[in-house]
Amino acid sequence: MTTPSRRLSRREQHRAGGTGAKVTARNTLIAYAFLLPFLTLLVVYHTWPVIFGTYLAFTKYNIISPPQWVGLDNFRELLRDEQFWSGLKNSLKYILVVPVIQVVAILVALLVNRPMRGIGFFRTAFYVPVVTSFAVVGLIWNWMYQQEGPVNAVLGFLGLHRGGSFLNNPATALYAVMFVTLWKGIGYYMVLYLAGLQSISPELEEAATIDGAGRTQVFWNITLPGLRPTILVCSLLSTISAIKVFEEIYVMTQGGPAGSTYTALFYTYSRAFQDFQYGLAAAGGIIIAVISILFGLINFRLTRGGRADA
């Protein structure tokens, strides 16, 4: 910790806005008083879970008796547990959503970025699923996916194969849930891509057009590179949330049927809240965290790879 009397560097002074209130013990006290309520709750509900959760991963714990140190036992048990592996597999499969949702969101953003009449309506319409609770969304799609339901009706109308009840079929359940994630998430990424598109200077695109570049050329050479930072953020966000998918599963399938939608985070949830094996669940959480960080890094490399952008 720094001492209260320490003078701030010139850079820090500059960032604080230059001259003004001096660094006195009284001012420091006031500053910390402003921060106190926030920091207290932050430490209890954000920092403590990281610390205690990591510790728990190496213990046996059921809340009633104190945690018992077991070393790496939980991790060994996880690696032997077939359910955990199939959960991991389903979580990784869920990453399939990422490229689809990003491509669709970029296309939708390009569409609603056009200056057309009534475009505001479409932007709002695409955003409605985003602001709806997963509880409601899950229930609605449970009904939509029924054997006699609208999804099958539409498939039949299009002359496609009509499935049974999508969520009751182990072959289709995971994909059905993935579609809901896609459906609910498109509007969210659309808004982010819209912001990205609007930050690309129109002069650049105009100049390219004047120089005789076609529409597709402008898209590939100007628009897409300009979107690269947004693509990086968005694909990172969606990869991480795909690996950690939980709420959709919790509301729609509870991991079933026959474990076909059982994901890694659902595994930790059921170990903790159904079997009261908190240590094992925490260890599962750490493995999921490591995997999502790895995928985050891969994603980072992929989106940054190739030519460096401006």
Partner: protein
């Protein structure tokens, strides 16, 4: 560049060519617009039909429930009446719970963030940058065990004890909102908004001897109102929609917020999905109203939140 091009020699033929070009471009534009509208309408149907379908099915008293339809076969409020009566948990109680949780959650979250962002943006004190970067780091630290540890914490704090009905209710409402009150995103949003406020204004107030709390209330809050509004709307939607935490840990089902209670009811109402649909419609309506009114704020807040 345009200026370097040679001046037109035959203005008439150029004008004619330009007009032709313009007409062709307009025609092509109309065609692409038509195409764009077709695609947009198709996507809008996919996005909105599930909601519309739920609404009309909830209005039908009887009939083939899961059938795809465009208009309801009959319209009545029977399902809404049934939902309202509830079975295990009265529906009005769920609405009340949600209102309490949202009011508590939004006002406290906004207050805490507006307070904490002030010294981080406008005061000088030792440890400021350290705290700022520590909070930043917390955003990326893995927190997969958050649900589990927060549950343990809530129990250890005695928030789930059951002794006296009134105190129990207060404690359990607190248990629902406490984990979400320190919003890092909100802190960043507000710090960003505060940084844009001229330092001279604050210095002048300080020279006049105004206490920091007064500066915060009289200068920072009014000037950051657009950001505060955006953040409050984001938080309202988040609290109104949250269900997982409450459903997992609340011992008293009578205190569940609406979206969590809806899931609970969908279990007990398994024989009458139409009533649950009515409940789903009621759950969505407040969000749609808030969203419609605060849409601009909402999008701004979202963009700001991601850009951090």
């Amino acid at each position: 560049m345009l200026e370097t091009r040679p001046a037109p020699v035959q203005p008439d033929s150029f004008a004619a060519a330009a007009a032709r070009l313009k007409a062709r471009r307009r025609q092509r534009r109309r065609l692409t617009d038509l195409l764009a509208y077709t695609v947009l309408i198709a996507i809008a149907l996919i996005m909105l039909y599930p909601f519309y379908w739920t609404l009309i099915t909830s209005l039908e008293p009887t009939g083939n429930i899961y059938e795809a339809k465009i208009v309801p076969q009959a319209v009545g409020l029977r399902n809404y009446a049934e939902m309202w009566k509830g079975t295990t948990v009265p529906f009005w109680r769920l609405i009340l719970n949600s209102l309490i949780i949202c009011t508590l959650g939004v006002s406290l979250t906004v207050t805490l963030a507006t307070l904490a962002a002030y010294p981080l943006a406008k005061m000088r004190f030792p440890g400021r940058d350290l705290i700022f970067y520590a909070i930043l780091a917390l955003m990326v630290l893995p927190n997969e065990s958050g649900l589990i540890v927060n549950y343990i914490t809530t129990i250890k704090l005695g928030l789930l004890q059951q002794t006296n009905p009134v105190i129990d209710a207060v404690r359990q409402y607190l248990a629902v909102v406490l984990p979400g009150l320190a919003s890092i995103v909100g802190l960043f949003l507000l710090r960003q908004a505060y940084l844009g406020i001229p330092q001279e204004l604050i210095e002048a107030a300080r020279i006049d001897g105004a206490p920091e709390l007064t500066i915060w209330r009289r200068i920072m809050l009014p000037l950051a109102t657009p950001t505060i509004a955006a953040f409050a709307i984001l938080e309202f939607v988040a609290y109104w929609n949250s269900f997982l935490w409450a459903r997992i840990m609340l011992p008293d089902k009578n205190l569940l917020p609406l979206s969590a209670g809806l899931l609970e009811l969908s279990g007990t109402f398994s024989t009458n999905s139409r009533a649950v649909m009515a409940g789903a419609v009621i759950t969505i309506i407040p969000i749609l109203i808030v969203f419609a009114f605060g849409q601009k704020y909402f999008m701004k807040g979202l963009e700001g939140a991601v850009k951090g």
